[in-house]
């Protein structure tokens, strides 16, 4: 194989996700009453960016062959925290935002510590920490309420130069400042290697523990950015159990659509972002086609089921029947 073929194979998942997104978004805007205008794009970008942040967080954990079922609850927790602290003068607001990000990173670090140093299964460990995070969110906001610095919120959910949605710029910044440095660092490579084959990575002397720990911590941080954005959209904090669960679920759908392997070691956050945007667009298709909103949960569930079943096509590449049995 030539060099470019390797590169194409590496990014195939991302490119497929991009293609799905472009097709879906074209159908969406073509049937939208307002058409392809800056406002339609802005609304779609804001909704999509929120899920994209959670999907990036999920990707960081999934490449280590783990899974974070608490990611939606970290989103709720940081949302509730932000509705208390991201208010007041610009200095206070900035301090509050940093506090929210630190809280998210701390949640992620807790998950990482339990999974890596406590050697627990990521599924059960993150279900349990998710319950703890939800409890803390409920302590912070027993009832929906609170407020947020509206100037900042409007700036970050609005448009720059009247055209480009600000949320997409923040999304790009997260990719450039968090994902790319991480995935190209020694620790990022170690996280990939640990997801691909932990014993092999260990024998090769890679810093797998620190790599995985960093991945979990950054996942918490990015989920907290999502929590901040949720607060910017809603202007309130709300500990809604169903919505936290939905975000966890959709983040898994987004990473699968984005070509990230749930068995670890393969995929990219860029793919997951396009997966998230595509998933949101598919969900919104119901509205432009005037279907009953009651059908939305079933529709999204079926997309999810179809998306995860796509992973089963790997079965056609199985050469030895014993490979079916892990």
């Amino acid at each position: 194989m030539k060099d470019w073929q390797y590169r194409l194979a590496e990014h195939r998942g991302t490119l497929i996700a991009l293609a799905i997104f472009i097709v879906m978004f074209a159908i969406y805007t073509a049937n939208h009453p307002a058409g392809f205008t800056a406002n339609v794009v802005q609304t779609a970008a804001n909704k999509g960016a929120l899920l994209a942040f959670v999907a990036i967080a999920q990707t960081l954990v999934v490449i280590t062959a783990g899974i974070d079922l608490s990611v939606g609850m970290i989103l709720l927790l940081t949302n509730c925290l932000a509705s208390w602290v991201v208010v007041g003068s610009p200095m206070e607001t900035a301090f509050g935002a940093v506090l929210v990000l630190l809280a998210g990173a701390a949640c992620g670090a807790l998950n990482g510590a339990i999974v890596i140093y406590g050697r627990l299964q990521p599924i059960v460990a993150t279900i349990a920490t998710g319950a703890v995070f939800y409890g803390v969110a409920l302590l912070l906001r027993p009832f929906p309420g609170g407020s947020v610095n509206e100037d900042l919120a409007d700036a970050l959910t609005g448009k720059i130069f009247g055209v480009v949605p600000a949320s997409l710029i923040v999304l790009l910044a997260v990719i450039l400042l968090v994902w790319i440095p991480f995935s190209h660092s020694v620790y990022g490579r170690a996280a990939y290697a640990a997801g691909s084959s932990e014993p092999a990575a260990y024998i090769s002397g890679m810093p797998i523990r620190r790599g995985k720990f960093l991945a979990y911590t950054l996942a918490g941080l990015v989920a907290a950015i999502g929590g901040l954005f949720l607060t910017f959209f809603s202007y309130t904090g709300e500990a809604a159990y169903a919505s936290g669960n939905a975000y966890t679920l959709f983040s898994i759908a987004a990473v699968v659509l984005g070509g990230v392997s749930l068995f670890g070691g393969k995929g990219s956050a860029v793919g997951a972002v396009f997966g998230a945007l595509a998933f949101r667009t598919i969900g919104d298709l119901l509205f432009v086609f005037d279907l009953d909103p009651l059908w939305q949960p079933l529709f999204q569930g079926l997309i999810l089921l179809a998306a995860v079943s796509l992973g089963a096509f790997a079965l056609f590449r199985v050469k030895n029947r014993l490979e079916w049995f892990l």
Binding site: I67, L69, I114, G118, R119, L120, Q121, I123, V124, A125, I127, A128, T129, G130, A131, V132, F133, Y134, G135, V136, L138, L139, P142, E198, P199, Y202, Y241, A242, L249, I252, V256, L262, F263, L294, W295, Q296, P297, L298, F299, Q300, G301, L302, L304, L305, V308, S309, G311, A312, A314, L315, L322, W324, F325, L326
Partner: protein
């Protein structure tokens, strides 16, 4: 020598099961100190009745966990079982007669889809069960129109959930029968031994000539059926089905299985442990509600307790 001096049943017992029973006694003592009525027979029988619903659901969860898998579709399988049983009951006498079997059948159907996904398509169980949970939720939302349905439970359902025989709650008797059957199936049938074998190493089980895919499929279908049966009983207890009635059962079911010493990696665990876990969780819930602990505190307590117990018993081996 000292070890041999202990009675055999203590030496053979899993330390996790003993710890769980120890915690139950501790909770009873704390509850007794906190309020005298906590130790009254009426209150304890009431707790046993509440524990039975969780016990039925946790039995299914345990089967799946023994395989080294997990069933995250419990919440809406419980709700679907309850809603479908109540829905069928609206169709005359035939419907009333078929209510309970049909509710269980719906659960078994959801479980079978999980089983196909896990056993034949090799999708990780947590993913496929999350997805079927979402689909079941979607179907139920369309069926109910987003509101709690108006259909009510049949008399048979109410009798099973709230009636008593000689002062013992029917629900507890059902749990007892189910428990004895589960102990028999797990310990004395080839199906049960296969479940443990697959949980230890599926590849080895397959090479030993076990039809592992069929066993996994049956276990998931059974888990779905038991979740739905739990939902049917809950609907009988509350006289009707409600939206999100199952949400409160996923975490306790996993917690009960794990606290009872069943390895989350599969292949190891006893039904007595699950019984201890269920009673432990129910007593804990009851003490927390007697102390008027808000929902937030309960969630945090559950989460921390599961992590703590897992750190004591559920750790994976280190790679070396």
């Amino acid at each position: 020598m000292t070890a041999n001096a202990l009675p055999q049943f203590i030496r053979k017992a899993d330390p996790a099961v003993l710890t769980a029973f120890g915690c139950i006694i501790l909770l009873l003592v704390i509850g007794g100190i906190y309020s005298r009525s906590f130790l009254s027979p009426e209150y304890l029988l009431q707790q046993l009745k509440v524990a039975s619903f969780l016990g039925v659901i946790a039995t299914g969860m345990m089967l799946v966990v023994l395989l080294g898998q997990i069933d995250l579709s419990v919440p809406w399988t419980v709700t679907a079982g309850a809603m479908m049983a109540c829905a069928v009951a609206a169709y005359g006498p035939v419907g009333v007669a078929l209510a309970i079997p049909f509710g269980i059948f719906c659960g078994a159907l959801i479980g079978a889809i999980n089983g196909i996904g896990v056993a034949y398509l090799r999708i990780p169980s947590m993913i496929v069960t999350l997805a079927t949970n979402a689909v079941a939720q979607g179907i139920m939302v369309i069926y109910t129109g987003g509101f709690s349905p108006q259909d009510s439970a049949t008399d048979a359902m109410r009798y099973l959930a709230t009636g008593t025989i000689l002062g013992i709650p029917n629900a507890a008797i059902i749990w007892l029968i189910l428990g004895v059957a589960t102990v028999f199936v797990l310990g004395r049938t080839s199906f049960g031994r296969s479940v443990y074998g697959i949980g230890n190493r599926e590849r080895a089980a397959y090479l030993s000539g076990i039809n592992t895919r069929r066993i996994v499929m049956i276990a998931f279908a059974a888990s779905g059926a038991l979740s739905a049966f739990g939902g049917v009983l809950l609907a009988g207890y509350a006289s009707k089905a409600a939206q999100s009635m199952g949400d409160a059962y996923l975490l306790p079911a996993i917690a009960a299985v794990v606290l009872g010493g069943t390895s989350i990696l599969g292949g190891r665990g006893s039904y007595m442990g699950t019984v201890a876990g269920v009673i432990l969780i129910t007593l804990l819930q009851s003490i927390l509600s007697v102390m008027q602990m808000p929902e937030a505190g309960r969630q945090i307590t559950y989460g921390l307790l599961i992590i703590l117990m897992l750190l004591l018993y559920g750790r994976s081996p280190a790679i070396r």
